[in-house]
Structure formats: C-alpha cells, structure tokens
Amino acid sequence: MERVDVAILGAGPAGLAAATVAAGAGLSTIVLDDQGAPGGQIWRAAGDVTRDRALARLLGASYGGAMEAIGAAQAAGAVFHPACDLIDANGDGALVWLDRANGGLREGQARALIVATGARERAVPFPGWTLPGVINAGAMQIALKQGGAVPDGPVVLMGQGPLLLLVLQQLLAAGADLRAVLAFDGAVPSVPFGAMARAVFGDPGLVAQGARLLLGRMRAKVPVYRDIANLRAVGGDRIEAVAFDSDRRRQQIPCTWLGVHDGVIPNTQVTQLLGLAHRWDNAARCLVPVCDDLGRMEGAPVWVAGDGAGIGGARLAGVRGARAAHDVVRALAPDRHDAPAARALAQTAARLAPARALVAALWPARDPLALVDDDTVLCRCEGVRVGTVRAAIAAGASGPNRAKVATRCGMGPCQGRICGPILAEWVARDTDTPVGALRVRPPLKPVLLADYLTLEQE
C-alpha cells in the first residue's frame, strides 16, 4: 500500500503541470500513466521524436515545451509510475492499479486525486468500419510518433477538426500517397468577427496554427469531397476502396488505408467509476465531469484537469493542471498555497479560452449516426449491429444501460468506450430523455484472474 498526498492519473500536459505544482509544494506526489514514458498522447515518445532528425522536422512543432514539462515534474520530486493501468478507485482516494512493468496489482491511498486522463477520438461508425485498414486518424499520427511509420499505398482521410488537418499535413510531409479527403466541414468557416477578434487577441499562436492548417488543406493537391452520404468501406478481409455519394454522385476511391477523425471527447472513465456528477454537453456532444473553475468535483477529494475535464486543447491543459494542483495545495497544505501564482494562471486561462471556443464553434460535433445503416456494427467488441439496438430501443429500452443488457452492446472488453457515448445519445434522442451513460464498473481494464491473486490480503 502506497500512501501519498496526491495521486495524479495521466502524465500528459495537465498531469505533468499538476505534478510540478503539487510536488513543488512539498506534497508527496505520484503520477500513474498507462504509457511507458510521460507525455500523454500529444507528447508521445517525446524523447524518441526529439532525438530523431526526420521525426523532429515532421512533428517537432507539437512537442514545444514537452521535455521542459517532463523535466520540471521530475525535478519537483513527483514519482512517475509508468505502464500502470488504473483498475479500481473509490471516492476516499483508494486506488488499485496493474503495474505492467513489474507485474501485479498494487494499492495506493491518496488524500487528493487529480484526474488528468485526457481525451480520446470520437467513434464514427459506418458500414465497413471494422475492416482492417480503417483506423482513427489519430492512430495514424501515433504510428508516426511511435515508430516513424507511414501508411503505405493509397490513403483516404475522412472527418473534420484540427487534428485531422494536422495529420493531413504530416502525412503529406511524410510522403504518404493521399488520394482524397472526405470532409465533414466546409472549406472556409464563417466566424463572427467578435469571436475571432477575442481569439486572436487571447491566443494568436493557436489561431495562426489553425489558419495554416486550413490553408494547407486548400493548397494540398488532394481532392476534397463534401456532403458525404451512403459511405461504405469496401473490401473482403481488409479495406480495398471507399465508396460514397458526394454532390449526389457516386464515387469509389481505391485505398489501403482510411483515416477517420471527428474530434475528441473527454475520457471520463475514472470520474464515472467514482460515481461523481457528470453532465451532457449538448454542443460538444459528450459527457463532461461537473467541476468548478479549478477542476474540483463535488462529493470527493477529486479534481479533474486537462481535456478529461472538457476539451480545451494542450495549451489550456497545462494551465488547468497547474490550477487544479494549486487548489489541492490550498486544501491539503494551506500555508504553502501560492495565491499569486494561482491568480496569474486564472488570467492565462481566461485569455486562452476564446480561441478554444472558436475551435469548438468551427467544428461542431455531428450526428454520430449520420453514416450508419441497420447492418452497421455499433459495438465492435460484441459485434452488435445498429438494427439490433434500434429494435431494443423500440421495444422500450429507456436508457443506455437497459439497451446494453437487452443487446450486449457495450459489454465487451472495451467496456463501451467506443460505442457507449453513441448509444447513450441515441437512446436519449429516441426516448426524449436526458442523455445518460453506460455505468462504468471495475476493473477499468480487463484483468487476468492471476493478477487479482497478487493483491495483498487484508
């Protein structure tokens, strides 16, 4: 049993910033992350990427501040536990995790918990999306960051959002054979002048980056298709082409890879497991934890920070992580609370917020069922199809958990991470009820029975 003041879940920008503040104030601090190295998704494999000349040239812009943030958390004395999967937790700060590096389940007890588990890509189901070769666009970027691996053969990208535009640029720069972009968004977004001005004033860097990415797509010699309908990934045991209607004309583009992205949603597994309050963000079409400005949740000594608290992007994540940690210090060790630093962070957060709001306004979330037919697999783990779920809802499944027990949708090893949010939104819409969520149960990741036996008995 490891007893600490603060346990931070996630070692991305938010978790690292939080660790720097908490450990810097003399609180004993551990940081758990399921990856083998700190950095989260945005700064994945930071050491490898910054050392490798080809990758640094391609990806370097995203890694600004990465090594500094990692170094600062270590220098402050935070203890990093790599390759650890959180398995169970409760509102009293008790944690159980699987230590994959050393083997076995470990227990911890923290006085405060900072949940900085980031975001995941929104699932986009459509006919054929289970074929090998169909992959999240973010996963293509992970392949690039982790192994300098570029999809070979003809590639098609589909969806919307800043990450998709970034992956487009990175793939082109890496020499990928990009055949088409199936865009969910328009070519030139229209934004109210006031919102644009506030964003430019608050975070010119982010706005400039966004403009560069949009221009990049226009300049790329890649056909862009819009108003996509009747989309289907075609193939036998892997994708061979993507077929769709655009401008009412049937298109079929041969490809070996289809990268899909429609924005990101918060990872709320931990805060849901803790039984804390969440709300459905109707604009962003995702579940978000209910917390105050500093990330404090009600009913338990738990703070959320970074994209896990609602999508804010990497720049804001670090600020939110530091703010949450300052509030933890104020709660656990008031005499060491650095009020001026906390106030300065509040101002930074306020300055960055309009640019983030602009991003959200430019790429509004779409109907997640826009591209499905009744035969489309919704739950990839259990192979449950849209039509089966439709029948269950028609037969009276009045919430996602009822739909789940009626169809097994969400019962497989991913425990509803992929299909759950779609199911919840769908049931709510068809039954005219508030959007719920699949109940999150332990273990947060499937655990070998043999591993349970490594738990020390009371």
Binding site: G36, E121, R380, C381, G412, I418
Partner: protein, 96 residues
C-alpha cells in the same frame, strides 16, 4: 495490402508472431509492429468470430488484443516490442 513504411531509422527488434519471426522497430508497440507488417485484423470478437482490427493504438478500443509472452488478452498497443517476445494472435479477445 495495408502496410506501413518507415521514415526513421531504429534498431531492429525480432519478435515471434504465431511461430514466425517478425522484424519490428525498437519503440514500436506490438500492435504497431503487426499493423506495419500488414497484419491488421489479428483478434476476433468471439470464439470463431469475425476479425477485429485496431482502431485507436492508444488503449481505448481493445481491437488489438493478443497473447503476449503467455499473458492472454493483452492490449498489443500498450506493450512495446522486446527481442525474443512471443506473440500469439487470431484468438478471440487475444487468447492466441
């Protein structure tokens, strides 16, 4: 075939997949090594079920489950390749 090519130079790591050697790059996850080699759908959704392919490569989708060094159902995207590693694929939920 859906394969990937490399733009960075890394030491080669040799793992055994279903009895045959597979050359991976140091730093790869097992899932990335398999994907890059064109082995996309390497786990099934049920005993005798249809193949499942990785979607996320970041521990979310559980579409990359495999038996790695005797541990069934590992998320292959979360485990980095190591020389001599033995991977079994094709079973449901990564049972090899």
């Amino acid at each position: 075939m859906s394969t990937m090519r490399r733009i960075s130079k890394r030491p080669t790591v040799t793992i055994t997949v279903d009895g045959a050697p597979l050359a991976a790059h140091a730093g790869d996850s097992v899932a990335l090594a398999l994907l890059a080699a064109g082995r996309g759908g390497f786990c099934a959704d049920a005993p005798g079920g249809s193949p499942r392919a990785p979607l996320c490569l970041m521990g979310v989708c559980f579409g990359c489950l495999a038996d790695i060094d005797g541990r069934a159902g590992e998320q292959a995207c979360m485990v980095l390749v190591r020389d001599g590693m033995i991977v079994k694929t094709g079973g449901h939920d990564g049972t090899g």
